[in-house]
Assembly symmetry: C2
Homo-oligomer: 139 residues x 2
């Protein structure tokens, strides 16, 4: 099988290229694409449990835990005891994490425009829709 016709190969190569571009865009704000994922969820939802974040970002709980450790060290998030269930932890933005919102969303918007700008609007929509379908497949 030609690599160039294999969906696993093409997705891997494309994901890598876009991950690198996203990382470069975010480096200015000293955050990684995974850390952006956490921030974006918290910007939309206020706070969250680590489990909410793992589900939203399709990551393992252990991976999320490592991401949160690094974000807490950088002062982007805090871990707080849930007042309604004192055995569980909620993740909340610090003022520093909240303040990044506008600039980081702008950077992500620019990355999306740079990548999708290679295609006409209909092709870009077809691509995004197909990726959503594939993302839900196999599980």
């Amino acid at each position: 099988m030609e690599f160039n016709n294999c969906i696993n190969y093409l997705l891997t190569i494309a994901q890598h290229a876009v991950f690198v571009q996203t990382s470069e865009k975010l480096a200015k704000y000293d955050i990684t694409p995974g850390q952006y994922g956490v921030l974006n969820y918290l910007w939309e939802n206020g706070d969250a449990t680590p489990k909410d974040l793992a589900a939203a970002l399709a990551l393992e709980n252990s991976t999320v835990s490592g991401v949160l450790d690094r974000m807490q060290k950088k002062g982007l998030i805090d871990r707080r005891i849930d007042e309604e269930d004192r055995r569980s932890v909620r993740i909340a933005l610090t003022p520093k994490g909240a303040a990044l919102k506008k600039d980081v969303l702008q950077a992500i918007e620019e990355m999306n425009e740079a990548v999708l700008g290679a295609f006409d609007k209909k092709t870009a929509q077809t691509l995004l829709a197909a990726l959503r379908v594939i993302g839900k497949s196999g599980g």
Copy 2:
């Protein structure tokens, strides 16, 4: 930005879903998707330097080196001194590595049909073409 409209998020989720399906298909033959990549290159090209493999698979040299170590332990490939340049190494298939070709290519074909079978032919072609373009972007 909605995750569901972000090309970095959608590619990551789609790549992960297909990687898992590919891993499951290949588990029967005790190889990983990365090891399949090496085998496929060698089935097509006979033998190769580690550098050829890194370039073809878009991996770091150090990553390829680790993949080759594990493949050599399993008896799928051999490292040989290049007779034309005794400072360099060539990677060659063992009979065991060569013998996997038919069954593994069949498994990869089935994975591609399972993933792309969700789309009509034109959409599948648009998707593959777009991923090739994105894979070459940004570098």
